[in-house]
Symmetry: C4
Subunit: 274 residues, 4 copies
């Protein structure tokens, strides 16, 4: 009986460390995990550079095996310390944890698992979990709210931009033709997107005067309509900011809209709650 309780305590303690970030150990665990993830992503990136792979391939390999083993232990501990393991295993982060750890093991059996390399980059997504736990994301709370509130509007806007690009791309395909790089409509649409978003690679560029005229119109259009998503988010953030101020209500006169650091009601002068 006591052993079971002790086990339970042990599991609780582990859960607290791994899944939460309120205790000192929990925070320490998160920081170590964050460093491990970032180093492992760095390893994946470096491994893809041919010169580094030739020179330091062996060291990188060892480093990756150490990190992979660590992640495996972490994965097992996460399963052990939770009451309903299935819930973790089939959760979004559970699946990412699994698929970002397994490729290294597969590389023993299969040679040339080059394309599995990128799977390991998925580990980067795990960073968000840590940030979430660490309450660091709280800082960005308001703007996530603003983004959510303006999601529908931005979707409509982007859809409109896409249709515009298809129409403009088709026009340019007819004007410029294949000889000037506009070999097909999809490619012309790609060019229209490159131009409208003011990216402008220059791999495809209009050569005929009329094509350059249309291109100029697209550019000025793109320069102008970038104001739209900005306006949406700006006004939304201003609104949410305004709402944010309205959390306190005066206990005496019920007046709302106090500043965050207000101690007394600015309408009747009575003391506010903390």
């Amino acid at each position: 009986m006591r052993l079971k309780e002790q086990e339970k305590n042990w599991k609780d303690k582990l859960h607290e460390i791994i899944y939460e970030a309120d205790t000192r150990e929990g925070k320490l665990f998160d920081i170590i995990l964050l460093i491990a993830i970032l180093s492992s992503v760095l390893f994946v990136m470096l491994e893809s550079v041919d010169e580094i792979q030739t020179k330091y391939g062996a060291i990188l390999n060892i480093g990756e095996w150490i990190l992979t083993v660590l992640f495996s232990i972490e994965y097992i501990l996460r399963i052990v310390s939770i009451n309903k393991p299935a819930r973790y295993i089939f959760s979004f982060y559970g699946i990412i944890d699994f698929f970002s750890t397994i490729p290294k093991y597969l590389s023993i059996f299969f040679i040339g698992t080059h394309s599995l390399l990128a799977l390991r980059a998925l580990r980067l997504l795990r960073v968000f979990r840590i940030l979430k736990l660490a309450r660091f994301i709280g800082e960005s709370n308001n703007f996530i709210k603003a983004l959510k509130a303006s999601r529908a509007k931005i979707a409509v806007f982007l859809f409109f931009v896409l249709i515009l690009c298809v129409i403009l791309g088709t026009i340019m395909y007819l004007i410029e033709g294949g000889d000037n790089g506009f070999t097909s409509i999809p490619r012309s649409v790609y060019w229209a997107i490159v131009t409208l978003t003011t990216v402008g690679y220059g791999d495809i560029a209009p050569q005929t005067p009329f094509g350059q005229l249309i291109a100029s119109i697209i550019m000025i259009l793109g320069y102008g309509i970038i104001a739209v998503p900005t306006g949406i988010v700006s006004s939304e953030m201003t609104r949410i900011h305004d709402l944010h101020l309205n959390t306190q209500s005066c206990p005496n006169c019920s007046y709302e809209g106090h500043d965050d650091d207000a101690i007394y009601c600015n309408h009747c002068g009575s003391k506010l709650h903390d």
Copy 2:
């Protein structure tokens, strides 16, 4: 008599399905039409890619004939179900419907109607009608209002940008000259637009130090004045948002759009509800 009434009912029903989106059938019709339009545009795009045209040309052709027949039926039904057909036929969407359906038929009689290909891309414009019906656009209502309100200002701004580009382009034409790609004033103006809007293809780039100095000034200018359309739309959207919050309607004259702290209607002077 009864037959006529039945016919009227039948026409009414058809009108409801095709022109409106309030009933279940109306919504279904819109969704099917939306899918048909998007697939037909996809077909046009794919057909312009040489490799795909060579391999799957026959399949694409059949698909397009099916869609063309469908659109033709839809076109006829639209004429039949409306009381004043002329009003539809010569409306904006009526003309688009006609000219985006006819090219396929013409391709039987004339070989090499390649340039008519793009006419079919016009079908994309029809998407807006469906969106309008589906009230989906309601989401973007506010920002269409904001855009309309700031239309004049943005036009003035874009006109100013254009004049600026002509002057700057002329200056660059004199500084750089034809050897560095600035072969004519229109081309230099095109370059100035490419630079000011921060697109920057790089197909034409200043080579002389003085030209690069002027180019730097244009870039910083462009980087700075992009703030202007953004500021216009932002402030307009914030204003409209503020107006939007006032859902109060005057009990006397039904006037809307009151300030949040309004006590009396600013249109007829009668007291508002709290």
Copy 3:
């Protein structure tokens, strides 16, 4: 005496037509002048295109002579119709009028006044005078106010951007060196401006991994700080918009901040002045 009065009337009438835009004749004059200016600029642009110059050079030449004579007449009439001609001649627009008209005459005596071509493009600046008269610019009044109010801030910002570009350019010069296109510090600073303002020609691009890292930081920096001028103008425009609403004061309760279309005070319900 009567003749003198008549002459005065005649001068007054002419002044009204040329310098003002309140009468029907004044507006007509402005529109004709606007068309003349825009055509003459179009001629200058077309003349610089070699193919057009070869084919239609003679026609363009005749057109330009007609416009030049028209502008000369206008210039003389402006001097004649004003009471203090010196004030016009040495004003900003007076000087532009003179220097944009004279090059064509010089081309008779001197062959190869190619570089004087651009002087004629100065005519474009005259467009602003017409716009000013036509009250069209009234539309952009508010945002000119906003721009003026935020001028000092934007100047500080652009100065800061320039210093940043000099420092970053110098760093890149040391990292990349002449072999990768960063042949001198001014050229590197030019590249830094091209990158920070997100223009990105690609005529100079970092080749070393470390250079690309610094370039990435510059890009993200540029992507981030574009928010600053936008923020300045946005907040300024919102503020000016707010002020704009506060023109009327209730004659009964002195409450301010009424809507533009308010008929009754929304605070006490009494009628407002028109």
Copy 4:
């Protein structure tokens, strides 16, 4: 005793001139220093241009020696005129002053101190000190406040952008591969940053249709999320502007920053003046 006092007065006077900008002499000193710094940076820039170095190298060298001697005198005077020299020497600006002056002296003993060239560009940072003294920066006070307030949010945003670029870069590395320029993950990430920030050099550009599709998504994403930092700064600046308008100070506790319609101080509860 009197001599000491005189010396003190002399030191005080010097301190006032060098470290402050309230007196006429202090302002004059700042302006001369500003010109000297800007010329010396101009010299460094010109020296790096090969043609100029070949032609005017001797003149530039003399000019730089004059400026270096001036800066050395200034450096010594700064140490002499301050009570605790160590505090200046090891301050941020003290270190910059030292390291931006020393390279020229080192060039006597060592030949080829080319890489020390850039150290002199550090002098540019000294400009900020002068601006600070000259109260010119006061103009930009509000927006520095706004930037500070939104620093954390922008950091979160930029961190998010970076993670996004790593993930997108890895995907593009797998899709495009080394043959199309995406030779390694770091290089692909660099490309993703170039694209997302709408810089678009074009030195690396996707070649496969699928790669261009992903690139299009990245561009539209970048075009859309540029609204986020802009929205943050805009709303922050609007808020600070609003606070700024409240010039009221509590008569009891001198607390500032009240709302426009505040009747009582929200800090101590006493009544405010109207």
